[in-house]
Symmetry: C2
Subunit: 372 residues, 2 copies
């Protein structure tokens, strides 16, 4: 077996953090990884009048997305995707999901035979009656075996604890693999004393955890808004976790219940996602008594959200995250559409309640009705 | 089958809350329960110059332990244990664990044949190399089949969300039974629209969850004190949950992993127990850098805790709970002693770390070392 040549496709907050870890680990294990030069593909943009790639390559700091953290010397930024892809055998996909299709198109036919991939992209691709995980899309389109990484290691929003991983405070993640040798290789590339990796033979489970938890987090936010207390919120999280698990066992092959119940990608990520700070807009939504459509309109128009002043028990400085919440709520809508197409809405009473409260004017106080 | 005659042994915050629920449910189901008069045994004390039993029986309010909540008409308070026990077939044990031995002694020989029990007492009885659950003690000493109830339904401290259950906000609990008919009977007595009951054939698991979670909550409190962020804390909770599960599977028969991973008594109760408000003193402990022995001495002497002023991000009004924390930390010591006697300390690295940080001067920053 030759050494793995790593390429990082993406350079946002999470991409830069994982580049920092992977770069150092490659250097520590030169028998496993070609550590001379690890490309990090950057969607070029100007920052203070300079190109972001130039800033990163000169200062070794991604000033825009991970300020304050010096990347290892072997990481270099390039805006040329072909250059990043050339020769690489181990691709880390860590970019906003809306860019994935275009990147895949450009990579087609240029990927070395036998290369492997791993996706750190949160979410899933939902159409009317189909849910596809990104690892499957990458695997099918590029013909490379693709793993998935998810866990309580960085906020979706990439805002609140953006330094946690990069600064090497303790956290965990889960890698779902198809072949154990892949899981072990990625673990060697990513694990540090402070960033612990568990591997499980469950790509779909790991991928779906990160998507479905958002629906449960909305419900948990409703609980905060109602001020029904810790016990009600914990109950909702428990019920939600079981619906997540049931959903995946029902609609996906080879999913393991343990991924949801025992792994960082499951229960631990759900716990961090339901922290009040991350639920601010969901709470505001309850307090303001608005429909999601109105809320979205206001947000899209850059208007200040009405009713926020009533949410006095949260910290206002975290408010910027609101712009990301519509996509979280949209997940509830997508999954509802999927369940409707499968005629299985009634099997998931919490998912249904979140959808109906957000989009159909159902009274949020009724959210606990019909739950088992 | 005759109707069940319920007796409530205990009348504190939790006892009064459950009396309220059981009294109403007995009235709703007269075909199942003799609802004419449900005794609630009260350890007599004076409140504002009057006997507590008199206050409860006249006002239907337990002024001392559950003010503001009117108990149903069929609940009556008595300080005469023999009177409470007489004729009853369904005993609810809900009293501080230190009184249980004496109550059992007095009940011996007076319990109707075929009677059943359920314990709501938190904790376990730990001696040098033995851990006994209260349901087993009751069952053995009184010869009645005993279930156990535990869940994210009320704080151990009985302080922060004391009204949650009684005021009928949404919460859940888990009943572990030995015979399904027992579980079903207790569920009928306790479940309401807002207070949901799941039943599992696992008395030991339900009982042990409530005891072992305290060790994990201490570790979570350390994380808050270190300010390592949400991800580190979620990781510790996840790892702790798995150690709880492993501990019970290793040392107890017929325990089910699902009780820990899926039930209110397990994961949901752990989540509420790790809320920052409940971890205040553990955080203060970290900040002050004191040994637990010193901390305990100060608390027992009624002194103000040093170093508290550094914990600026928590609410001071919740401070009264500190007096209960030594018993939480003592749990870590007891379990450590048990594991040592079994020569299995190294199998539980998080439990060991909590013990060593609390009692042996180990640096709390090393708590994540040697964890899997």
């Amino acid at each position: 077996m030759g050494k793995e040549k790593v390429a990082i496709i993406g350079s946002g907050n999470w991409g830069s953090a994982i580049a920092s870890i992977a770069g150092k680990n490659a250097s520590r294990q030169p028998e496993l990884f070609d550590d001379s030069r690890i490309p990090m593909w950057v969607f070029e943009e100007e920052v203070n009048g300079r190109k972001l790639t130039e800033i990163i390559n000169e200062t070794k700091i991604n000033e825009k997305y991970l300020p304050g953290i010096t990347l290892p010397a072997n990481i270099y930024a390039t805006s040329d995707l072909d250059e990043a892809v050339h020769d690489a055998t181990a691709f880390i996909f860590v970019l906003p999901h809306q860019f994935l299709g275009k990147v895949i198109e450009q990579m087609k036919g240029k990927v070395a035979p036998g290369a492997k991939g791993i996706t750190l992209i949160k979410g899933v691709d939902v159409t009317a009656d189909e849910i596809r995980i990104f690892a499957d899309i990458i695997q099918k389109e590029l013909g490379i075996r693709c793993s998935a990484l998810s866990g309580a290691n960085i906020a979706d929003e990439g805002k609140f604890d953006r330094f946690t991983v990069a600064a090497e405070k303790f956290s965990e993640t889960t890698i779902g693999y198809r072949k154990k040798e892949d899981g072990e290789m990625w673990k060697k590339l990513f694990e540090t004393d402070a960033f612990r990796v568990q591997i499980v033979e469950d790509v779909a489970g790991v991928s779906l955890c990160g998507a479905l938890k958002n629906i449960v987090a909305v419900a948990a936010g409703f609980m905060d808004g109602l001020e029904w207390g810790d016990n009600a919120k914990a109950a909702i999280m428990r019920i939600g976790l079981l619906e997540m698990k049931q959903f995946c066992l029902e609609f996906f092959d080879d999913v393991k219940a343990e991924t949801f119940l025992q792994e960082s990608a499951g229960i631990a990520d759900l716990i961090t996602s339901c922290k009040p700070a991350k639920l601010l807009v969901k709470v505001a939504f309850v307090k303001a008594g608005k429909s999601f459509e109105d809320l979205e309109k206001e947000l899209l128009n850059g208007q200040k959200l009405q009713g926020v002043h009533t949410v006095s028990f949260f910290e206002y400085r975290k408010w910027p995250s609101v712009k990301l919440i519509p996509c979280v709520l949209r997940k509830a809508k997508d999954v509802h559409g999927f369940l409707k197409a499968k005629n299985r809405v009634e099997g998931y009473p919490l998912f249904a309640a979140v959808y109906e409260c957000a989009f159909k004017g159902r009274d949020i106080k009724t959210i606990t009705k019909h739950l088992d």
